[in-house]
Symmetry: C2
Subunit: 206 residues, 2 copies
């Protein structure tokens, strides 16, 4: 089988749901961390079609754009629905998560502790409540975010909540504003492969 | 047939490819323009799941998130591919377009003419070249952006180029840096329905 290589910075950010899905599914891949000092040269080299990371080498191709990459591997390994209504639920949640990252990632990068705290206090509760409602709406919130099986959306939300709240000592916010989502995270962590990955991965540089 | 209503601000922005696709396909729909002064009340009313517009009422549901909406109507009316490779090309281009809008929309909203000019001078050529390469890579650029038929990607790129360059007196930039894309725009405008729509629509407020 051809090798699979993910190229991204040594952060969780936009590539983490891809890493999580591959680890969860037990897919062997090279997790290549591009150091920041090497990026300007690589960016202008034409290596990445749009001059961005993440980039996934798979099936003899170079895929770009984090969500298009995630969707590709989700389809390949069976985590993408076929019903248009379910696809809508997956995609709209995925886009909502992107909206959240578009706000939080620049905050984290700038490292302004006050602005970050303000986001957790003022914006995070609403974000969590919206995600909670989406989960509850699907079979009472006892299993998955969309339909009756694991989908790309579950990896998106697991990555968002775990990396933005759980490992940043904000688990209490999740328990308070999204208790079903908190349970969902705990259920996800009963996957030995996913648990082994998140426990052993290097810390994110941002 | 149930009514279809699109709710969005009186701007082109993120809803325009949806409007264009519906008009192109000859779908009757209500194009409801939410005035800015009415938005705070509507936002907090729970009308829109995530408190955002656009929102599309269709098939008895309220769909949110512009790209999830576009994907839904693209699938419904036959502008979404089935092959995973083609889906990747559609989605990665669609995500690239979103990256561009995430930069240009705030610039336009703030109305800083100098910053806008700087974007056209310094960033637009590279953006156009990337889109041109994607088009040329597909059958030499003589037809569509993905595969052998019209897809959601064509509406995304038509909307981006037409609204960001053509109607803003920047067609010359497209002709210079993306001549095949320029031809693509001209071909698209041979659609009587699409042409009638873009010629008759009210101006965007931003």
């Amino acid at each position: 089988m051809a090798e699979i290589t993910l190229h991204y910075f040594p952060i969780y950010g936009r590539a983490e749901p891809v890493r999580m899905l591959l680890h969860y599914h037990g897919v062997q891949f090279n997790d290549h961390h591009v150091q920041l000092q090497d990026w300007p040269g690589l960016k202008t080299s034409g290596f990445s079609e749009f001059g961005q990371l993440p980039l996934l080498e798979i099936d003899g191709r170079r895929l770009v754009q984090s969500k298009a990459i995630l969707r590709y591997v989700a389809e390949k390994y069976g985590y993408y629905p076929t019903d248009p209504r379910d696809i809508y639920f997956v995609e709209s949640l995925s886009d909502f998560k992107e909206d959240v990252l578009n706000v939080t990632m620049p905050l984290m990068f700038r490292g302004e502790a006050e602005a970050v705290d303000k986001w957790y206090q003022e914006s995070a509760p609403t974000v969590l409540q919206k995600i909670e409602r989406r989960l509850v709406r699907n079979e009472g919130g006892n299993k998955f975010f969309v339909g009756k099986s694991l989908s790309m959306a579950d990896f998106q939300i697991f990555g968002l909540i775990y990396d933005l709240f759980i490992i940043r000592n904000r688990a209490n916010l999740v328990q308070t504003h999204a208790p079903k989502v908190y349970d969902f995270i705990q259920r996800a962590l009963t996957s030995a492969r996913l648990k082994a990955y998140v426990d052993s991965r290097p810390p994110s540089h941002v």
